[in-house]
């Protein structure tokens, strides 16, 4: 067995675990919005929405820390070789005199990942809540078929609108590739946060006025 394998194996599984956890947390988020057990809690819809989103973020942070802990344990199995590999990577990634840019880019990347996760959950909620609200206006019969068609239409409309809004962000990434400036990462994060804010306002409105819990 290659001595670096434990870390490699742990990291490989990490990617899978992050993806599955993201989906499971998103599913849990959406269940909370349409369930009596949570919607009956005496708190405003804004409060419930914020608490739900915050809990999703905290739970993903928990996952990140556990994965780091797993990585450290795996790395400890062959500390020297891993340490050498990390130092080599750092040396290649940040040429002498450009350490500030490297750290800036690293934090920018972490921030962008976190913001992107929040943005994705919010977007999933928006599609779900719009569909749930509209479903109440459809005829009861063949509701599943209508619901499916509605999901397709809402997702297509969402992607179209999002692409219009996100074009500037695309330009930013293009600029980053050309200018190699890590500031673009922060700009992209801010842009995503602004869009997330707008989507959240729509989500809270839908929760307050239209989206009801699933009746048994």
């Amino acid at each position: 067995m290659n001595v670096a394998d434990p870390l490699l194996i742990t990291t490989s599984y990490s990617v899978l675990v992050y993806m599955v956890a993201f989906v499971l947390v998103a599913r849990n988020n959406e269940q909370i919005y349409v369930n009596d057990s949570y919607r009956l809690v005496p708190i405003s819809d804004t409060g419930l929405y914020s608490a739900n989103l915050l809990s999703a973020f905290i739970s993903m942070l928990y996952l990140v820390f556990t994965q780091i802990a797993f990585g450290v344990i795996a790395a400890a199995m062959n500390f020297r070789e891993v340490f050498h590999a990390i130092m080599l990577f750092l040396k290649e990634s940040s040429p002498a005199g450009d350490k500030g840019a490297f750290i800036g880019a690293l934090f920018g990347f972490i921030l962008l990942m976190a913001v992107f996760a929040i943005f994705s959950w919010i977007s999933i909620s928006l599609v779900h809540l719009i569909t749930s609200a509209l479903t109440a206006f459809l005829p009861d019969s063949r509701s599943r078929l209508y619901r499916f068609i509605l999901y397709v239409i809402v997702i297509a409309a969402f992607i179209y609108i999002l692409s219009k809004i996100m074009n500037p962000i695309g330009d930013v990434f293009y600029g980053m590739a050309n200018e190699n400036s890590y500031y673009q990462l922060y700009l992209a994060s801010i842009s995503l946060l602004v869009v997330s804010g707008l989507e959240s306002a729509a989500n809270v409105y839908l929760l307050r006025a239209w989206v009801e819990t699933t009746n048994r």
Partner: protein, 277 residues
């Protein structure tokens, strides 16, 4: 006497069908009111509208003079079906959730009711029979110090003995100044404890008073015996405790995933070791 529930000009449509039309209803404080009607008449919908979980209605619904969503939820205890919880969750954890998110939830009161209704807290939700589940739902709903209790068909599909226990617990643990709206198909089961009945028919309300022969005096006498359990606590949920409760649920999901992750990592490493040797 002040109104516990006041509904004016309520209209509610869903899936292009009118469910409730021009509903006007006032229920006085301290009453036990039966909400009767056929299947699909709109009993549950009316309760869901009062509880604030059904949306898109026209008209006005006031509960204990509260009109805001959060304020109404704070004064209403609705017997929800516990479908939001993992069915493998132990009852003690569900009770813990209620304790966390409802400031007016009384653990002492719950323990008394759990003893009376013989609810086994070590059991998982999925292990409960229909009757036992209904007892748990009633137990949790009545353990709150709410102003209005909405009990949605608490006797559906359960045996006679359990029905009697549930009826007794409603009488025994009802705060004197609280109002209970209990829905059922038949009046005979709960008639002895009712002050009034409200009938839903043709999407609207027909109201009748219950004759005294149904045992109103007996119900009042029993209610007076148990009037000591009242403590008024204004129910305002703390954002932090809700976030905490929701995070615990998500972390539980992630923990299950982590167990699989660790097993997969260990098995892969073991495989590599065996392959290496």
């Amino acid at each position: 006497m002040t109104a516990a529930i006041e509904i004016k000009g309520l209209n509610y449509r869903k899936n292009m069908k009118p469910i409730l039309s021009n509903v006007d209803l006032t229920i006085d404080t301290g009453k036990i009111v039966g909400l009767l009607g056929e299947n699909g008449a709109g009993k549950t919908t009316l309760m869901r509208l009062i509880a604030g979980v059904a949306k898109g209605y026209k008209g006005q619904i006031n509960v204990a003079n509260e009109t805001g969503i959060a304020a109404k939820k704070a004064v209403v205890s609705f017997s929800e079906q516990l479908l939001g919880f993992n069915q493998n969750m132990k009852i003690e954890r569900i009770v813990g959730f209620y304790e966390d998110v409802y400031p007016d939830f009384s653990n002492d009161k719950y323990n008394q009711m759990a003893g009376f209704l013989q609810i086994d807290e070590d059991k998982k939700l999925s292990q409960l029979s229909k009757g036992m589940r209904e007892k748990l739902i009633i137990g949790l709903a009545l353990s709150r110090q709410a102003k209005v209790y909405l009990l949605d068909e608490p006797f559906a599909g359960i045996d006679s003995m359990s029905r009697k226990k549930i009826i007794n617990s409603i009488i025994r643990w009802k705060p004197e100044d609280a109002t209970i709206l209990v829905s059922d198909h038949y009046v005979s089961e709960i008639a002895s404890v009712l002050d009034e009945i409200v009938v839903i028919k043709d999407q609207t309300i027909l109201r009748k008073r219950v004759p005294k022969k149904f045992g109103k005096n007996l119900a009042k006498a029993l209610k007076n015996i148990m009037k000591k359990f009242m403590k008024g606590l204004r129910c305002m949920t703390n954002f932090g405790t809700l976030t905490n409760a929701l995070t615990r649920r998500k972390v539980q999901i992630i923990n299950h995933l982590l167990v699989i992750d660790i097993i997969a990592i260990l098995l892969t490493i073991l495989y590599e070791v065996i392959k290496g040797t």
